[in-house]
Amino acid sequence: MSSREQILAAVKKNQPEATALPSLQGLAGEMPATLEAYRKVLESLGGSLFEITDAAQVPALLSQHYPHLERVVFADDQREWAHEDPHQLENVDMAVVTGQWGVAENGAIWLTENNIAVRVLPFICQHLAIILPRERILATMHDAYEKIGAPQTGFGVFIAGPSKTADIEQSLVLGAHGAKSLVVFVLS
């Protein structure tokens, strides 16, 4: 008997009587789906937020708030960089991507391969900027999974704030292995 058959047989023999799945109704409560609520949580995670009315405002705002950027890549303009070996993205100072959904309760933004072109991009860049349409801010994770639905790509991720660690004496340090900072541009 293969290991697979052995494990499945043992599980079948030992598993308890099947019970029904619970309803997920009423879990979301009255959490707000507002920009204010989203901003408050994002800032508590160490992220920053700017409101814009046109995506064309992004480069100017970036050079204003990050004066020392040398290499900036825009996920929407893949001709520039997407052909490179992903390891070469190590010298990207700032990556700018567009997010699909934002979650007010925890600051997370949903991105898939379609938004980032190369999977490692939002992790390997030194700083990350996400453009998020204002009407795409939802209240809770339940709303997010309802909107996202079935997977369309091979990889998707919720990103909530900059990479961080508190492994040394519980002192919070931003910039562990991923982006050292996260700026969200809310587009309305």
């Binding site: 293969s2 290991s3 052995q6 494990i7 499945l8 043992a10 599980v11 079948k12 030992n14 598993q15 308890p16 099947a18 019970t19 029904a20 799945l21 619970p22 997920l24 879990l27 979301a28 409560g29 959490m31 949580v41 995670l45 992903p86 309760e105 925890n106 997370a108 490692v120 992790f123 390997i124 809770t140 994770m141 339940h142 997010a144 309802e146 996202i148 790509t153 091979g154 990889f155 998707g156 991720v157 919720f158 990103i159 909530a160 900059p162 990479s163 961080k164 660690t165 508190a166 492994d167 040394i168 004496e169 519980q170 002192s171 340090v173 910039g175 562990a176 292995h177 991923g178 982006a179």
Partner: protein
């Protein structure tokens, strides 16, 4: 396998030799518990969420066979290679084979308590493969040649000065620099080199979705993603109990996990791995290692609901004051103490006794595992199976003789009070564990029964 050199009480004694450090450990973990409370209280539906999560996991246990085959089928359709391992040895063999086939000599690993449980690192090293742990806390304990002492906060037992010393020795940072910001930046540089050179990456799995065949991995640091996306081969190792039925159930678990673990609303990254990227390989190793046996133990199967948040450790008065290493098992604390006896009753017979049964663990558990009740039930099983020490059995027999007969109880009480008064040295000595760190109370002049009888007679 690592055999325990000694039991929890002895190891806890050692940890307690440095009192200021124990107090610091205790307070740090309680601070994390308090952060968890603030997050939990900010969500009015928190208790409903816990109950729902618990019920989803119960449904998983009752349908595990079908969910596992559904997950496998979906994962295969997604282009992943699925492996099944009956035990730790087979898991280690499978991982080694994959790495050897690709000629990998050095590779990165993000946090996986399963690979700790299976002792994968020493196995790979014996086969000439260097493993670099990439979670900062895990890298620190790896450099110190120690196991993690906590499943979420692996080096919570270490002071920053010790970490500075380790980094000075291994990473060449200036001696005496113990600034967390500086040390983290040094680790970032050191580990970026490893990520960029690694052809293979191992990750754990937080949730495996039967419906879609995808796996969700949660980190704050981004180390799982840096490893998995840069490597040609991604090996994801998961226990059979990591399955959840549908994608929408992730909403429930991702709301609970980080809030319970560290008091954050969610981890920085919640990555959904479904298909290997073009030209790359994704291997999933599904491991039993005693879990199907635990599934058959009616009193203990709920322990398989665990999502490894560590809340039970942060709240446990015994864990906070004895340290993770005193549990001499990969998963320490209350949850580890109900999981470990399933792996080896003899080696871990001491763990269910390393608890006050106060119930705080069960109160904070996000999937409502009845941890303290299981600890109590394990004690009964372990005594019946003869795995407890002769001293404990003799003591229990004596207590039984005294407490089950009122006459004996009265006599023993009288004798005890007399001994305490006449020969205080007989109990106030280092052989009495109750005397440690406390003065024994002054013996009362009479028992309650005697006092009551006296009151009744004076009333007349």
């Amino acid at each position: 396998m690592n055999r325990p050199t000694t039991d929890h009480a002895t190891l806890a004694d050692k940890f307690n030799e440095n009192e200021p450090r124990v107090n610091w450990h205790d307070e740090t973990l309680w601070w994390v518990r308090a952060k968890r409370d603030r997050q939990a209280w900010s969500i009015p539906e928190w208790e409903l969420l816990r109950e729902t999560a618990s019920q989803i996991k119960l449904n998983v246990l009752g349908n595990l066979h079908d969910y596992l085959t559904q997950f496998e089928q979906q994962a295969l359709q997604n282009g992943a290679v699925v492996h099944w391992a009956v035990d730790a040895a087979e898991h280690n063999r499978i991982v080694t084979d994959i790495l050897q086939r690709h000629g990998v000599k050095r590779m990165v690993k993000s946090k996986s308590m399963l690979t700790e449980e299976c002792h994968l690192n020493p196995h790979l090293e014996a086969h000439g493969i260097d493993v670099i742990d990439t979670d900062l806390g895990e890298r620190i304990v790896q450099l110190a040649k120690e196991p993690p002492s906590h499943i979420v906060l692996p080096c919570i037992h270490k002071k920053k000065e010790e970490i500075g010393e380790l980094f000075h020795e291994h990473l060449g940072t200036p001696a005496g620099n113990a600034d967390p910001q500086f040390l983290t930046a040094a680790a970032r540089q050191h580990l970026r080199k490893e990520f960029l050179q690694s052809k293979a990456a191992i990750t754990g799995v937080n949730f495996a979705v039967a419906e879609t065949g995808e796996m969700v991995v949660c980190t704050n640091e981004g180390n799982a993603d840096m490893g998995a996306h840069l490597a040609d081969v991604h090996i994801a190792c998961m226990g059979i109990e990591k399955i959840i039925p549908e994608r929408r159930h992730l909403g429930v678990f991702l709301r609970l996990l980080a809030r319970s673990a560290t008091g954050q609303p969610i981890t920085t990254y919640s990555s959904h791995f479904r298909k290997p990227a073009a030209g790359k390989e994704l291997h999933i190793v599904i491991v039993d290692n005693g879990r199907s046996r635990q599934l058959g133990r009616e009193d203990f199967r709920n322990s398989l609901k665990c999502i490894r948040c560590g809340a039970c450790m942060n709240t446990c008065p015994v864990y906070r004051r004895s340290g993770g290493h005193s549990y001499h098992t990969a998963v320490a604390g209350p949850i580890g103490s109900i999981l470990a006896p399933n792996l080896d009753m003899k080696d871990y017979a001491d763990l269910p006794f390393a608890s006050t049964l106060c119930g705080s663990c069960s109160n904070v558990c996000p999937v409502k595992i009845d941890i303290h009740q299981q600890l109590y039930k394990w004690r009964q099983v372990l005594v019946q199976e003869g795995h407890t020490s002769g001293m404990k059995t003799a003591g229990m027999k004596m207590m039984n003789a005294v407490l089950s007969k009122p006459g004996n109880y009265k006599k023993a009480g009288k004798m005890g009070r007399w001994v305490l008064r006449a020969f205080p040295g007989m109990v106030n000595n280092r052989f009495n564990p109750w005397y440690k760190q406390r003065e024994m109370p002054a013996p009362p002049a009479q028992s309650f029964s005697e006092w009551y009888a006296q009151q009744q007679s004076t009333k007349k």
